[in-house]
Amino acid sequence: MSRHLLGLRDISVTQIQHLLDLAQSYADGERPAGILAGRTLMTLFYEPSTRTEISFELAAKRAGAEVVRCDVDRSSVKKGESFVDTVQTLEALGADAIVIRHPMAGAPTLASQLVRCAVINAGDGMHEHPTQGLLDLLTVRQRKERIAGLKVALVGDVLHSRVARSAIWGFTKLGATVTLVGPPTLLLPGPREEGRGKKEEGRIPSPLPSSFFPFPSSALSMTSSLEEGLSGADVVMALRMQLERQQHGYVPSLAEYARHYGVTARTLAYARPDALLLHPGPMNLGVEITADAAYGPRSAIQTQVANGVAVRLAVLLWALDTDERREPPRSLRELGAERGNEGTRERETIRERPLSVIASGSEAPDTESVIASVAKQSSVTPEIASALRASQ
């Protein structure tokens, strides 16, 4: 049984809480050694990534899974192989989970309709980046000890941001309010019926009706005033500004943008004195964020990165439905034997598929090799915990 993680809109509050709790246990230093032994994770990234891809790989390796990277630039994608065929090929080769980053919204959703293995969205177009959303939530929860009741400001290119979409769902589901702040051209399109031609000065109605949120409609608002948007904020998230936005006429210039919407040590003063500063990375220093803010006392940006591995570990275990079986701790030998059996069962499921391509050489690993790989993995120091301690 495998589960897909396509977006935070699709999963329940309970599931989000569960993933955060699980991730926290790894952030606290719990070792996942061997729990994914015999499982294969494949990453399929159609866009470049540092943090996301590496932290998925690290997470998988720490849990003992095999990790294969499908290098899009050197694979059959270059020969024109379609996305659909590529995903089905990876499953036929024995993937238990496929992690997908794609420039087009909905690509992981499409993949999830075609395969039985788990599909994890690592960022699709302007849609969602759910593991980023989870690590943002985890970071805030660690520092603020709660999400409910917090005021979160997302600043910048909200329109094109998948990080913003996941943050909107994640934070509002857990009871925070979210304010979107940016130039009018980079906010979300407002509802047309009420909005056109008679917008109140300064206030822009929320593009999403209250029926979308488990909490009152005040959960989401938009403003083009940085001061108004940041005022009273507990969390400020600066969004990455794509450099080509200027060419396409969304902003007059990056300098103009930075002057009015840049998050700096000075403008951060609009927020609460104890406000937390987040940024999904990679940063354009001097555009959406300045160094004095990014490396200042309120910044939790390094913590976000460090939490990435813990969150992705939790997501992998959840997606492969192994999270409930973490407790009680078992001996490595028991564990290995069980994983081996499960591996066999997995292959049988794949064999039932109408597509009759079966991975060769993908027999379940024997107990000894599992133990060996577990032993190897468990020697890795969990840097997550130490990084966390350092940044706090």
Binding site: H102, R165, L208
Partner: protein
């Protein structure tokens, strides 16, 4: 020897007739309509009791993909789909490969329609050469060869000066100019309606103003030139308001709407359903309501399917990569009967009028009416027939419908073109 349709409920929107009668077809024409016609021994007889007998439907906006993209559809399969849906005439858009911008292409289509077509095929020619929006197509020659309208469908004519001159020519030859109203700079590479759902799905939005800006421009150009403007597939409340106001002023403008824009909203795209991806896109709930209202009050004249076949392989891709368009010929009548007529939103007579009499009049065709000596183009409809849309059994080569799985009530059960039965689910008795 003729074909006698006995005991049906004869409905003719052109004259408002709605009564039980027999209809005799002979030599491709309607030979008699009377309360009771004697079989006389020489006619084949169709028992039409409990069936509607209506003028054959006319779809003024289809894509037959022939020449050039016959893996999606061709004239044989497209017209087969048409008669399955009760259509006896279709006007085909010129965005073929090559485009219908030369009389030889018009003639090719006419010849293929005669040899392989199940219904009448009326070519629409391009406004500009190559459909490129740069130079005028040979409009008088195209008109003389049999083109029934002019359109660069798929795109609007960007150059307003060129369109103004094209309209002058169109007026001269008496053809309507059909505009695909879309300002590409406002659509900005969008894949669906700009609104709540584009925000949620993270897809680039096509704003309503993209359509309305061109509708507004074209209305003033039509007013200026005196040309007949026909707005294709109206999709927004703002366009309906613009057209309503223009008609009030006496501008020569007509408009069409598709069944999918009348019945669906952008919510149907949820889950990245590429069979709900078309251009113009499915809009919001307020737009949908305005389209139904516009159809009711006559602002919108005709219903057309914008039948746009694409293969499953072409549609089973990332949403952004999928081509725009859905098929509609085999579902149009039934979805309208089920969702507009049954709930009482629109009368049966009105729906049939907008599917036959009105589009025939806009294109200047003889059909769309049940009168003595009119072409024997008819559809027999079983209002009670229940069926479920199964794209796998479509006569079209393509399956890209947003209505898959819909349970419908009411269906064309026989389609007669020029006195010949081209589609039938009924028994025809050769009378002794």
């Amino acid at each position: 020897m003729g074909l006698l349709i006995r005991g049906g409920r004869v409905i003719d929107p052109a004259t408002g007739v709605d009564r039980e009668a027999d209809v005799l077809l002979a030599e491709g024409r309607i030979a008699a309509i009377d309360a009771s016609i004697s079989p006389g021994g020489r006619h084949r007889v169709i028992d039409a009791r409990n069936l509607l007998v209506a003028p054959g439907l006319v779809d003024m906006h289809v894509h037959l993909r022939d020449p050039g993209q016959t893996h999606k559809e061709d004239i044989a399969s497209g017209t087969a789909a048409a008669v399955h849906g009760g259509f006896t005439a279709v006007a085909c858009m010129p965005n073929t490969i090559p485009p219908i911008d030369h009389p030889t292409v018009v003639e090719y289509i006419q010849r293929r329609a005669t040899s392989t077509g199940a219904c009448r095929v009326l070519p629409i020619a391009t406004i500009t050469k190559g459909r490129l929006g740069e130079e005028l197509a040979p409009i008088p020659t195209l008109a003389a060869s049999g083109a029934v309208a002019l359109s660069d469908d798929g795109d609007a004519v960007k150059d307003a000066g060129l369109l103004r001159r094209a309209m002058s020519y169109a007026r001269q030859v008496g053809l309507p100019v059909i505009e695909h109203s879309e300002d590409a700079t406002l659509s900005n590479g969008g894949a669906m309606h700009e609104g709540m759902w584009s925000v949620v799905l993270g897809l680039r939005g096509i704003p309503s103003v993209s359509e309305e800006a061109i509708v507004a421009r074209d209305i003033v150009l039509a007013e200026d030139t005196g040309a007949r403007l026909h707005v294709a597939h109206v999709s927004t409340a703002g366009s309906v308001a613009l057209i309503r106001e223009a008609k009030r002023r006496g501008v020569g403008v007509t408009a069409e709407v598709t069944p999918h824009h009348l019945l669906l909203t952008d919510e149907a795209v949820g889950g990245y359903n590429t069979d709900a991806k078309m251009n113009p896109p499915l809009r919001g709930q307020a737009d949908r309501a305005a389209l139904v209202e516009g159809l009711l009050d006559g602002t919108i004249d005709a219903i057309a399917t914008d039948h746009a076949p694409h293969t499953p392989e072409e549609k089973r891709v990332e949403f952004d990569s999928a081509p725009f368009g859905v098929v509609g010929l085999e579902t149009a009548l039934s979805v309208l009967l089920t969702r507009l007529v049954r709930p009482g939103l629109l009368s049966l007579m009105e729906v049939l009028r907008r599917l036959s009499t009105t589009p025939a009049a806009i294109l200047g065709l003889a059909g769309g009416r049940l009168e003595l000596d009119a072409p024997a183009d008819l559809v027999l409809i079983d209002l009670d027939r229940r069926w479920t849309v199964d794209p796998a059994v479509f006569a079209s080569k393509s399956r890209n419908t947003p209505f898959a799985g819909w349970e419908l009530q009411g269906k064309a059960v026989m389609t007669i073109v020029g006195g010949e039965i081209k589609y039938s689910e009924l028994v025809v008795e050769a009378h002794a």
